[in-house]
């Protein structure tokens, strides 16, 4: 494999990464070839010593996914981190997917319920005084506000739980991956 071929395959494997990260990684490997050439090593020798570019790309991508999840806990970063790690084959997808699917479904359900509760509480709070709820205006205001608070609290707790769970999956996969990967390679 030539230098260009290696870098090309690596770059293809890294599609989807933020441009700045991609540039940094490509610069790392280009510098590696340059340093090796200065020592008089041939391109094909260096490419062979570096290993399979697709495999390296998967590993780098998973690492980048974990990094963006560390920096910002957004749903898309959580997805990127987990998809990247699944790409490594570190977790048994067949076992994990139904489990993950169930958990994700439950979490989405709770979130939906919390949002629904919040809106319902808001409606009672806003419309209560005009519709003549049993217990009078004050009870409607208080009750509506209470339901809103409760829903917000449930939402916040579920969010904290979700973040904790994604961290757990990432931690487990990285630990697992280090042990498993060599066995897959040989």
């Amino acid at each position: 494999m030539t230098r260009i071929e290696f870098l090309d395959r690596l770059c293809k494997g890294l599609t989807g990464l933020p441009p700045a990260t991609l540039k940094e990684i490509m610069a790392d490997y280009e510098a590696h070839f340059k340093d090796a050439a200065a020592e008089g090593r041939s391109e094909s020798e260096v490419a062979a010593a570096l290993g399979d570019p697709e495999r390296l790309a998967r590993e780098l991508k998973a690492e980048a996914g974990v990094k963006s999840w560390d920096e910002a806990k957004t749903p898309s970063n959580a997805t990127a981190a987990i998809v990247g790690i699944l790409g490594l084959g570190a977790l048994d997808i067949l076992i994990l997917l139904p489990l993950l699917g169930g958990v994700v479904g439950t979490l989405i359900g709770i979130f939906a319920a919390a949002i629904g509760g919040f809106i319902a509480g808001g409606v009672v709070f806003a419309a209560g005084p005009f519709l003549g709820f049993p217990g009078g205006i004050f009870a409607a205001l208080l009750g509506g506000f209470g339901v809103m608070l409760l829903s917000a609290a449930v939402g916040a707790i579920t969010l904290a739980l979700t973040i904790w769970m994604v961290n757990g999956v990432v931690w487990f996969a990285r630990l697992h991956y280090r042990v498993l990967k060599p066995a897959l390679e040989s």
Binding site: Y29, H32, P182
Partner: protein
């Protein structure tokens, strides 16, 4: 797969080795990679994902050094967290190695440090 244990061992301690190399001298990736591939026969490609992981974990930071030929070079150095990780992992490694050494002795040695970790 006769070499599996060999590779697994090296992979497991590669992070520790990088920390140790950087504790001696701040260095750039190619130098670290060739150092380690000479010393413990580690594949060169693994160094880059590993360096990025160690950067994410806050164990190393990078800085650029102007080079007389071509673009500036990216150097790595240990952070305080990196030095702490080196101390902890080195102690763990020594305990583990001592325990394995003791098991490899043909005759049980009295007071062998089997549970030192």
């Amino acid at each position: 797969m006769p070499e599996t244990i060999d590779i697994q061992l090296k992979k497991g301690v590669l992070g520790l080795c990088v920390l140790a190399v950087l504790a001696r001298n701040e260095s750039y990736a190619y130098e670290i990679a060739s150092h380690l591939s000479d010393a413990i026969g580690m594949g060169e490609g693994t160094i880059y994902p590993l360096m990025r992981r160690m950067q994410t974990d806050g164990l190393v930071t990078t800085y650029l050094v102007e080079s007389s030929s071509g673009p500036s070079r990216k150097y790595y150095k240990l952070t305080d967290a990196g030095r702490a990780a080196l101390d902890a992992q080195a102690a763990e490694w020594r305990g583990f190695a001592a325990a394995v050494d003791a098991l490899l002795e043909p005759v049980p040695v009295a007071n062998a440090p089997l549970e030192e970790a």
